[in-house]
Symmetry: C2
Subunit: 297 residues, 2 copies
Amino acid sequence: MNKIGLHNAYWLDTEMVDAGVYKWMELAKQANCEVMEIGTAEIVAMTNAERLEFKKAVADAGMILTINDGFTKDDDIAAEDPAVRRRGIERAKRILQAMYELGADRWSGINYSEWLRHPEVATCTPDFKAHVRDLSLESMREIIKTAEDCGVDYCFEVVNRFEQFLLNTAAEGVQFCEDLGSPRAKLLLDTFHMNIEEDNIADAIKFAQSKGRLGHIHVGESNRRVPGFEGKTNMDWDAIMGAVKESGYEGYIIMEPFMKMGATTICCWRDMSHGADIATMVGYAKDGAAFLRSKLA
Amino acid sequence: MNKIGLHNAYWLDTEMVDAGVYKWMELAKQANCEVMEIGTAEIVAMTNAERLEFKKAVADAGMILTINDGFTKDDDIAAEDPAVRRRGIERAKRILQAMYELGADRWSGINYSEWLRHPEVATCTPDFKAHVRDLSLESMREIIKTAEDCGVDYCFEVVNRFEQFLLNTAAEGVQFCEDLGSPRAKLLLDTFHMNIEEDNIADAIKFAQSKGRLGHIHVGESNRRVPGFEGKTNMDWDAIMGAVKESGYEGYIIMEPFMKMGATTICCWRDMSHGADIATMVGYAKDGAAFLRSKLA
């Protein structure tokens, strides 16, 4: 059965937001998760000794570490300015090297451009989109060599239209991977985003996997609650998890729920946790992991 | 059975975008729709004589006219600046008066604040949201009197988190209507937005109607294609249309599909129409109307 994970962004707008990698690991483990997913900042900032120690701690806990993060306006590898692209390329290499040292083999995110980038034109034309996509591909041709050398699956996150404009569907993502041409070029598909963009979520999962490009999966309810939260859902989890099984995808399934009001980049404008404290939040995630496993059984 | 309509925004990024109210009416009628929905600019700009003529043409065609539009940064009735709020209030009154003269009795949209407004704070707190909501309510207390006098249902559009932060769920919308207290305070619920925000779309429809606040419905696929497009969908249309029937909602159901790449405010970054020409687009809308009626039968 696929291993289930928890993204540390779950702790945004809680007192655990800056608790650090060891605490996040403990919380993921408490939620009966086998994978912990974190951003890039912490692992890049670590010294060699700290990485070695953390790698050992993850192994000792019987956990798996995955990385999720993307670029900003300052280091967008698809920016017009070559200096900005260069910063992104060099940052990508540092991240991949840190992952190699930690034994983390999956980096997903908007790691092909800038998160929340909006086209800088009044009307978005196919030519403009192709131009930005080409800039990204050009940078990726350099970065992907490092990913290959570091043994990292570089998973482009396919996201909804409000967060990026280059890759909104599995079909666009697969084409991007094929144009790049590396076996390490993969996709992250996320139920929240697919629920907005795909004609059919199960078909998208099966399509990406059939093309050998499904590298990572994120899950959450349509409004980003924990999967199966209180039994209310617009998601057809039987069809979604059925597609995961049927397609032969054996990778990780990471919960990335956002239940707290606050961070304006996430756009969650209400508390969806019923004012839950940390213990209750852990319980929600534990229930979510059990729910997913019941659908995979 | 509920009357089905077509929003003229369907023609965005086509050669019909500026075709004018008579052409839009003709296209809606060709698509077997009984209601045409347009923005506010055209009706406010009309002279008395033009309004009289258009009103007659709509009646002669056996059509119904509804209005959908909201405020901008320059006339946000929930802005901090009282002068901006005043511009919005006066614009709302002009729109309502034009609607009265045209015999249009339903105005929906982000007519309670600014479309695409993002909180002007790093972290969105309940206090900040309540403050902006109070500014809107204060303006609405003046506007709603004109709506009552003009016989217009003022339908607040509940939208997804990326387009506004005040009213993301039917529950928030109903509370806003109740706080305002007028029988003309209603909601527009849209399947595209509900699919992102609600725990369950059918429950949201039934809840709003049970509170007497469901004034208008917009429909589209989860990715804004025409309802039922090519038989592929993530939407449970049986449940959604079942809720419409069961709840006793007898109002209009307006298709607001976006199938063309272009307008950056709409965030549709790919052509979803297979390069359709106008006749094919009309055919899609006709199929959509037939699909909806089959679910309502």
